[in-house]
């Protein structure tokens, strides 16, 4: 095959070679040749968003809800700077993305050319890796590398910056079959000595807890984790990123842990004697104050693919660096043989203690209220969708209620920006989810502040007929900000009131969607049912909720896990 292709053709061919079905993007000068090639083929579908931030969030939602690498395409300069929030969001949650950005021609780089920014420089701290292609001969290898790096090891976004002249130059195309990178070899298998030590420790446990995070979802280890935990009969808690890694309706599940975790999960975490951390990273929103956490004696086993996550905030006793599924398989095999050595009596006692904590009923709320309680909406959403929906969210109180009240039994169903906490994520992420799972129910739980950060995507949803159900928990406040101001700033609600809100119903209608306003608790379920009956329509459900409701439990910043504010 000696036909010469342009850099732009090569770019598209590489995407085809990587089996990319769809990419999310926005055109501009530096990527016009690439768009021209997109136009001439129909294997890779291009989804036109309305803002580059949304392109990256959509690619991100696509990746989170499937197992694939998400792809976004943006132009140089402002295209890239708009994309940065999306890239940083994906980076913080370790989501595999390839972002292709146009760049000014190589001979213009450094001359403050029109729409030039130092893309590699700007994105460096928020990508797993980035690469500037300064020679068309390296283009194919670079793109192949980008996909490889994004998806392997601890995943993450990789950016490929392609100058315009490179997209015009012609060479013979050949997609490399293999890559050899001496400086990048992610570990796969855990150290078997460490795994044996872990087995001994697990068998000696009297008050064990399994604590699992996003790594379990990303590595598709949910089934392995579930089987192992059930076999052992241990309690399991998930982080915000790890929800769905263990079925929320299982009796071994003690709920989410952390700042807004359940009483039982946080207490169990604090007072366990053996902690099995799987694909989680002990971050500040999860264990609160690390000093307070270390006041209690417990032994910790930590399984993670990223060595730098281990002993970063909390010193662990048995680190196991490796691919989570591989390590879990080996652990399960060894534990099966020695299951009779477990201390069942102690475990029973431990469960009794946990059940006492459960009786505290930490997620209770006023069900008699004649104003809509936001928790109720999430509960009803769970009922109406039979727990089968993909749920994306924005950031704030609604996000926490979604995490607390929608019981995720499967991985990749709960899609939220945990690490960066990016308002504006929910709607574009839901678009990505729709493209990866076209026939599924997709709901975006949001707040009236967050939804306005990427509201323009209602237009994209119209163009591609995406029947997302937007569940707007409208409390007329940046609720989470208001809650902190109420608790820690003497009820001074500085700039957290959402004044001058649009009429969301009319707004949705003006984009060609359906809008439903719900003001009474007794109408909540019916409205949701009606919305999901409209199978081909995006429905914007505007729930007018209680302005004063707060998220409980809450571990205030700097406090220990057991120092929760309870309702």
């Amino acid at each position: 095959m000696s036909e010469e292709l342009t850099g732009a053709e090569i770019t598209i061919r590489c995407l085809q070679e990587e089996d990319v079905e769809c990419i999310f993007g926005y055109p501009g000068g530096a990527v016009l040749f690439i768009y021209d090639e997109l136009f001439k083929q129909d294997k890779v579908k291009h989804i036109l968003v309305r803002h580059e931030q949304a392109a990256v969030h959509a690619a991100d939602g696509y990746a989170r809800s499937s197992q694939k690498v998400g792809v976004a395409l943006v132009t140089s300069g402002p295209g890239v700077t708009n994309a940065v929030t999306g890239i940083a969001t994906a980076y913080m949650d370790s989501i595999p993305l390839v972002v292709i950005s146009g760049q000014v021609p190589t001979n213009a780089i450094g001359l403050d050319a029109f729409q030039e920014v130092d893309t590699v420089g700007i994105t460096r701290p928020c990508v797993k890796h980035n690469l500037l292609v300064s020679d068309v001969n390296e283009l194919a290898t670079t793109i192949k590398k980008a996909f490889y790096i994004a998806a392997t090891g601890r995943p993450g976004p990789v950016l490929v910056d392609i100058p315009k002249d490179v997209t015009q130059q012609k060479i013979v195309f050949e997609y490399p079959e293999k890559l050899s990178m001496r400086s990048y070899n992610p570990v796969i298998r855990g150290n078997s000595k460490q795994i044996k030590k872990a087995v001994d420790l697990i068998l000696s446990a009297k008050r064990p807890v399994v604590y699992s995070g996003g790594g379990v979802i990303l590595s598709d280890a949910a089934k392995l984790l579930t089987d192992l935990t059930r076999m052992l009969g241990f309690p399991c808690t998930n982080t915000l990123m790890g929800l769905g890694g263990f079925p929320a309706t299982d009796k071994h599940f003690v709920g989410m842990l952390g700042m807004h975790g359940t009483y039982e999960a946080n207490m169990a975490m604090q007072y366990c004697d053996v902690l099995i951390a799987v694909g989680a990273r002990f971050d500040d929103r999860v264990i609160g104050n690390p000093k307070h956490f270390s006041n209690e004696n417990r032994k910790i086993i930590h399984i993670d693919i990223d060595p730098s996550s281990i002993s970063k905030r909390v010193k662990v006793d048995i680190p196991i660096v490796g691919n989570v599924p591989d390590v879990l398989k080996e652990l399960t095999k060894l534990l099966k043989q020695r299951q009779d050595e477990m201390d069942e009596k102690a475990l029973d006692e431990w469960w009794k203690q946990i059940d006492l904590w459960r009786e505290r009923d930490c997620l209770k709320f006023n069900r008699e209220s004649d104003i809509i309680k936001p928790q109720l909406v999430v509960e009803k959403l769970y009922d109406v969708t039979k727990g089968e929906a993909f749920v994306t969210s924005d950031v704030g109180q609604h996000q926490m209620w979604a995490a607390q009240f929608y019981k995720f039994d499967k991985p990749r169903r709960w899609i939220n920006s945990g690490g960066l906490g990016t308002m504006g994520f929910g709607l574009p992420a839901a678009m990505g989810v729709m493209f990866a799972n076209p026939k599924s129910k997709v709901a975006c739980i949001t707040g009236e502040a967050s939804i306005q950060m990427c509201i323009q995507e209602l237009s994209t949803c119209k163009q591609y007929r995406l029947p997302i159900k937007i569940v707007n928990l409208n409390n007329r406040y940046m609720g989470m900000v208001r809650q902190w101001q109420e608790f820690f700033h003497g009820n001074r609600y500085a700039e957290s009131y959402m004044d001058a809100l649009p009429d969301f119903i009319k707004l949705a209608e003006s984009y060609g969607h359906v809008g439903i306003r719900v003001e009474r608790p007794e109408d909540v379920e019916g409205a949701l049912q009606e919305a999901f009956k409209l199978k081909d329509q995006l429905v914007f459900l505007d729930f007018i909720t209680d302005q004063t409701e707060n998220v409980f439990p809450m571990v205030p910043g700097g406090k220990g896990l057991s120092e929760m504010i309870l309702v």
Binding site: V120, G121, R124, P125, P307, S311
Partner: protein, 155 residues
């Protein structure tokens, strides 16, 4: 690390982003032109150094990281110093340079330029020993390090 554009800024960026301090950093290509060798001097608690090592290892272009201070090693730094040298000072400075086993590599009727190699503390000692009012300019490379004995760091 890979001798590629941008690799150095990734290391420097990592240190500033994570709040680690860099006391000195020196880097140049090796006998294998595709590789650069960097010596970076930093300080911190054991936990911090562990994180620094792990984070460096995570950078895609970094091929291998070793902590030279874990074992016996040799450290050298090069310094060039321009000093005012007039009258009786000329002999005095010459003597001092000899004591420190440096050499004078450029001379004018008003100044000497001195080359000195050694550990960073030896270079500090030299600066401490010359009359500070005569020092016109100094430039230092930062330390380069290598393990002692037959042991080598090879890829």
């Amino acid at each position: 690390m890979e001798n590629e554009a941008g690799a150095l800024s990734r290391v420097a960026g990592l240190f500033s982003a994570r709040g680690y301090n860099i006391e000195s950093l020196s880097v140049a290509p090796t006998e294998d032109a595709t590789l650069s060798r960097m010596t970076l001097v930093t300080s911190g608690s054991d936990e911090v150094i562990e994180q620094v090592t792990k984070q460096l290892n995570k950078l895609i272009e970094v091929v291998k990281v070793i902590d030279l201070s874990d074992g016996n090693h040799i450290e050298r730094e090069l310094m060039l110093v321009k000093v005012r040298a007039v009258g009786a000072d000329r002999d005095e400075i010459k003597r001092l340079v000899d004591i420190f086993r440096g050499c004078i590599i450029d001379v004018t009727d008003k100044s000497y330029t001195i080359e000195l190699t050694g550990t960073s503390s030896k270079l500090d000692a030299f600066i401490g020993a010359v009359d500070s009012s005569t020092v016109l300019e100094t430039v230092r490379t930062g330390a380069s390090g290598i393990g002692r004995g037959d042991w080598t760091l090879k890829v």
